[in-house]
């Protein structure tokens, strides 16, 4: 069945198809309509789950941690300040190895207040141990949310699915809605957290762990997150076989012979792709790499994609004050670890919901190709004087 739905509806549709059993959420723009829809499904019984209207995002994450510890499939959704408020428990849930899935509708962080999209909220959570996937279309949002449950449950690690605030969350596109049986065949089995509460075999979870053992716990967690790359690829392949839609961890668009590769993630990739096509028609060797899987970071794949290019320009929709952009940091470490590698340039654009327009991308290309000597470590696009 095809339906015209928004990014947020794509999330709630996927959560219903995944037969989630407990949802806890607190409203925040632009996430709210995800949880409103889910609360309605739960009241109607079209999703046989408990929906808890908790008193904050911190409580939302705490509630799903409790529920996931008993072995049920759980979900929450948030944005921006709400994600920041969850921070403590993001570490906790990944350390506890719980396969929780969360949608984060990307929105800027204050001060000052702003409700529009940028990626500073989720990129700031990169070290929490959550796997992160960034989407470009409503279809991808639905499909990625479904795959997120499979990945989370196979590696016992929580997964965050990102969609750009308003640009994707509130824009309707035609979306292919999977059949429930087909989803069941992907997600059959359900979660089995390693620290499952079992009355027959009582144990205390997450008790104080001395220096003698703590590192081993963290090493297990670290290995699982690294191994999640392979699992994500496997899940995407299974998904492709069942549904006919394929999702590589990193999208390559006309990168093969490209001298300049532009790097983007989320909906900005659509604008970049448009510009790349236009330049290709003029015979310019330009390509785009779209970061879809950000955690685990696919170092080898990224290195393979960019290593043949002369230069790489990263488009960041977030900042890391006092450093360079987060996406550029990761890319540099992937591209340079083999020695040599392309020149990497970093550009910031579209903070707090400012549009990223084709002219911004064209300016970026012009600068890296003909004015690189004027560039700084981090370059701001579309800034008002």
């Amino acid at each position: 069945m095809r339906a015209l739905i928004t990014g947020n509806e794509a999330v709630s549709t996927a959560v219903r198809l995944a037969r989630v059993e407990l949802i806890a959420a607190y409203p925040i723009t632009p996430q709210t309509s995800i949880s409103e829809k889910l609360s309605q499904y739960c009241s109607e019984g079209t999703l046989d789950a408990d929906f808890v209207k908790v008193e904050s995002e911190h409580s939302a994450m705490a509630t799903v941690i409790g529920a996931a510890s008993t072995g049920v499939r759980t979900f929450t959704a948030t944005s921006s300040q709400g994600l920041a408020l969850m921070h403590e428990l993001l570490h906790w849930s990944s350390g506890a190895r719980l396969p929780i899935v969360m949608a984060n509708v990307n929105r800027a962080l204050g001060a000052p207040w702003n409700i529009w999209g940028d990626q500073s909220d989720s990129l700031a959570q990169r070290d929490t141990g959550w796997l992160q996937f960034y989407c470009e279309s409503c279809q991808e949002v639905l499909d990625t949310t479904l795959m997120a449950f499979a990945v989370a449950e196979r590696v016992n690690t929580p997964v965050m699915v990102m969609l750009d605030g308003f640009i994707l969350s509130h824009t309707a596109e035609p979306v292919q809605i999977p059949e429930p049986d087909a989803v069941d065949s992907l997600l059959g089995g359900g979660p089995s957290p390693p620290a499952l509460v079992d009355p027959e075999n009582p144990r205390t979870l997450h008790a104080v762990t001395s220096p003698d053992h703590f590192m081993e716990f963290k090493h297990h967690q670290f290995q699982a997150a690294a191994g999640a790359e392979k699992v994500s690829v496997e899940v995407a392949e299974e998904f492709g076989k069942i549904f006919g839609r394929n999702y590589p961890g990193t999208e390559e668009f006309m990168c093969g012979d490209a001298e300049t590769i532009l790097v983007a993630s989320g909906t900005a990739a659509g604008t970049v792709r448009h510009v790349v096509r236009k330049y290709r028609e003029q015979g310019k060797k330009v390509g785009m790499m779209r970061v879809r899987m950000f955690r685990p970071y696919p170092f080898d794949e990224v290195r393979r994609i960019v290593s043949g290019a002369k230069r790489v320009a990263v488009l960041e929709r977030a900042i890391s004050p006092g450093s360079e952009g987060t996406m550029a940091q990761e890319l540099r470490s992937a591209a340079y670890s083999a020695g040599g590698g392309p020149q990497v340039y970093d550009f910031v654009a579209g903070l707090g919901g400012r549009d990223i327009v084709p002219e911004d991308i064209e300016r970026m290309l012009e600068l890296v190709e003909n004015g690189a000597d004027k560039l700084q470590r981090v370059n701001w696009l579309g800034l008002k004087e």
Partner: protein, 293 residues
Amino acid sequence: MDTTVQAAPKPSTPSEYKSGLKPVWCPGCGDFGVLNALSQVYHRLEFDPMNTMLFSGIGCSSRIPGYLKGYGFNGVHGRVLPIATGAKLANPELTVIAAGGDGDGFSIGTGHFPHTCRRNVDITYIVMDNNIYGLTKGQLSPTSPGQMVTTTSSYGSIENPINPIGLAIGCGASFVARSFAGDIKHMVDVICQGIEHKGFSFIQILSPCVTFVGKDQFGIIKNQVRYLNEVEGYDPTDRSHAFQVADETGQISLGVIFQHPFPEYRHGTEIVRQRLIKRGVPEMKDLIAKFRP
């Protein structure tokens, strides 16, 4: 660098205490009434805008600092009380008012409320209670009555509402009052009393959300109102009377529900200091000498 600030002339009418920014509230929202009342309070108490600071969290109601003269602070969701506490302790000369919605104060910020009540710092906290999350467009709030239909309770709420007045009294607040956005004169009187009270004052103002709860709210509340100062024998210093009001159903009591002169936080700090001075603090060298073999 010269950092002295030139004092602006003090406003001389209530409307001069408004900033001139046009509120973005829906026409008919109860929060307009609270704004009008506060501008009259500022005028009646002859506030110097330079020495007045209005803090808020986030929500429709929390927009209020922008609409009044004086310093305004729009904080994060639910954290208005600790932020206001910090400001008042650091600058005791400031008149500190905190404001926000029922979601801000009684869901995400609930944890701060009991502690601010019992700490008794000299802040006046106005909760503009509309029983709903207005800004995020109509979700269930902790003060939504049972079975209320909202966008997160499409077929009626299954949760019991919180009782803000009972909570405040139980947590040791020294001033607890209730007023109604449909009665400006009453709001002005009660808020003035709250500000003049030395210690933490909690004022719940029933401020209808006409868009997500309904225009009929003003009438529904008005029909149930009674004024405590007209109730024979009501003693606001008696906690049991106050708890009876907190528990009432079918009527809505307005006015000062509870007031007790518990010592204000600063006063407590002073007592501890005086006690120490009296006892005498030994010099460090004497202490070290005491432990030397």
